[in-house]
């Protein structure tokens, strides 16, 4: 038994070559259970091949036909530059853009003048973090964020560190939520900005944004939140929450890709240094022509999201419960990552113990799923979000994210659950670790030899 495990591991060690982190990973116990570890190969579907069903609504969402319908006229006939003030082409584009701005503002209870169109949430996050930090750098040199933020927030903070700023990366509790007392202790007199995401993209937990907002306001610190995964799905109100900056993405709410928005509070005024200089569009915060069709699409997506929020949320909750219940009732040792209560139900992150996530993804080739965020899905490294919530290394390796959205059907959920149960059982039967667990051996007590 043991020798089989060792042989597999040796084999894997040679297969994976010399890359440091991967070698470490093959040395962990769980990978011994794997015979076929290779990164999933990309290929195009054959003409008559059936398409996998889509269960990755956190990565991106299909565009709602109502959104496309609103955009098409601006891709076809109304091509004017919305900043042209001298002719009808410009005016019609401008009024469409302003209508879209109002639709976005209404969804988060803001004033249209507080909305800046950007290319997406990544740009919005970069703009707010670098912008605020650099504008106030003469007096304030400290920024606070959390370890489970999106890559673009963490990387912006790294850049600021290189520029001489101090950054505190707050840890999160095992349920993925931050500790408010810890945040309060971390705030210093020279803290300019706190950035905490509303809904996490990997484990779906909802941070106590309202409490954080009130705390930051009382300490006179600006508060930025990345709400890309939250708006349109849960009610968002920037004045109730005392949010100063909020990032919004189009393609997470059934809108077009390549557009997003940033909410920048006017009273009390938040000032930021623009990243992009030029023609002075968008109050000088984001120069560059606003892409009218995309802005119209974002606006339409926001309006539809507002109308459909209750309906969608109810349905997503039912489908998510159905999926979790089906899987959990059929297979033991499945862990749901993140707080069970404070969460958005459409993002379910499950760890299947004794099964390696990538092999399960490969086995579930009929379902478009991911083990974490799309940005990091190419690497075999376990997700840093799961590490931050203190998941065991082997559990972090065996996690899969199920994304449920507006267009998901009961049949798709049932199919996914059924396939998942079948494949987990199959992979576990192949796993020497699972066999040992069944024999009552505590895996943690085993001393794996190092080579």
């Amino acid at each position: 038994m043991m020798s089989r495990a060792l042989v597999t591991r040796k084999l894997l060690g040679t297969m994976c070559g010399t890359s440091g982190p991967r070698l470490n990973y093959t040395q962990t116990a769980v990978s011994a259970a794997l015979v076929h570890t290779e990164i999933i190969k990309s290929r195009e579907l054959e003409k008559d091949e059936l398409r996998p069903l889509y269960m990755d609504f956190q990565a991106t969402t299909p565009m709602d036909p109502r959104v496309l319908d609103a955009m098409l006229p601006y891709q076809v006939n109304y091509y004017g530059n919305p900043h042209s003030r001298t002719h009808a082409y410009g005016w019609e584009s401008e009024s469409a853009m302003e209508k879209a701005r109002k639709q976005v503002a209404d969804l988060i209870s803001a004033d249209p003048r507080e909305i800046v169109f950007t290319s997406g949430a990544t740009e919005s996050n970069n703009m707010s973090i670098k912008g605020v930090a650099r504008f106030y750098k003469a007096k304030k040199k400290h920024i606070i964020t959390t370890q489970t933020e999106h890559k673009c927030v963490l990387d912006s903070c790294r850049v600021l560190e290189a520029e001489g700023f101090d950054v505190t990366y707050l840890p999160v509790k095992n349920n993925g939520l931050i500790d408010l007392e810890q945040l309060e202790e971390a705030i210093r007199p020279d803290t300019s900005l706190v950035s905490v995401m509303t809904v996490n993209n990997e484990i779906g937990v909802r941070q106590p944004v309202k409490e954080i907002g009130h705390l930051c306001r009382s300490k006179n610190v600006f508060f930025h939140t990345d709400a890309a995964q939250a708006i349109g799905k849960i009610p968002v109100n920037v004045s109730d929450w005392k949010v100063d900056l909020m990032s919004i993405s189009g393609h997470k709410i059934y809108g077009p890709k390549g557009v997003g928005a940033l909410y920048v509070r006017r009273r009390p005024r938040v000032r930021l240094e623009p990243l992009q200089n030029g023609g002075g569009q968008e109050r000088g915060l984001r120069s560059g022509t606003v892409p009218t069709p995309l802005a119209v699409g974002l606006g339409a997506a926001c309006e539809i999201a507002q109308q459909e929020m209750e309906y969608d949320h109810k349905r997503v909750t039912i489908l998510a419960n159905r999926l979790v219940q089906k899987i959990m009732s059929e297979i033991p040792d499945v862990v749901m990552n993140g707080d069970p209560e404070q969460r958005y139900p459409g993002c379910i992150n499950l760890s299947f113990a004794y099964v390696e996530g990538e092999s399960l993804l490969m086995a579930l080739k009929d379902v478009a799923l991911s083990s974490g965020s799309a940005c990091t899905s190419a690497s075999l490294e376990p997700s840093y979000v799961l590490r931050a919530i203190g998941a065991d290394e082997d559990l972090a390796h065996s996690s899969i994210r199920f994304g449920i959205g507006r267009f998901t059907t009961e049949e798709e959920v049932d199919y996914t659950a059924e396939k998942c149960i079948q494949q987990v059982k199959r992979l576990r039967e192949m796993s020497p670790l699972w066999e040992m667990v069944q024999e009552g051996i505590d895996l943690k007590s085993i001393k794996w030899t190092q080579h």
């Binding site: 579907l45 003409k47 008559d48 091949e49 059936l50 398409r51 996998p52 069903l53 889509y54 299909p62 036909p65 109502r66 496309l68 319908d69 098409l72 309906y311 009929d366 507006r406 267009f407 998901t408 059907t409 049949e411 798709e412 199919y415």
Partner: protein, 91 residues
């Protein structure tokens, strides 16, 4: 008025369902059918003529939109999904 409204509602409902069945994409098609059914059911007991008028004009706009989007979808249709391959009920 009421009876006239009723026949209008039923005919609109039928047309919406008929058009929505033409969506080539499985997910758009099932969503449209489900949303139309649920939408009409939620407003089953509306008898205020003003609200009814508003809802009817919304439904007419939706019908036009669905017709346009069905054509777009048909122009760029793609492979069926695995669910349709297994599901013979034909939705």
């Amino acid at each position: 008025m009421a009876s006239c409204g009723r026949s209008q509602v039923i005919s609109l409902y039928r047309m919406l369902m008929k058009e929505s069945r033409k969506f080539p994409s499985y997910n758009y098609r099932t969503y449209a059918l489900r949303r139309i059914q649920d939408g009409f059911r939620a407003n089953l007991h509306v008898d205020n003529p003003k609200t009814l008028d508003m809802l009817l004009s919304q439904a007419r706009e939706s019908l036009a939109l669905i017709k346009r989007q069905v054509s777009v979808g048909q122009m760029y249709s793609t492979q069926k999904t695995i669910i349709e391959g297994n599901d013979q009920r034909g939705f």
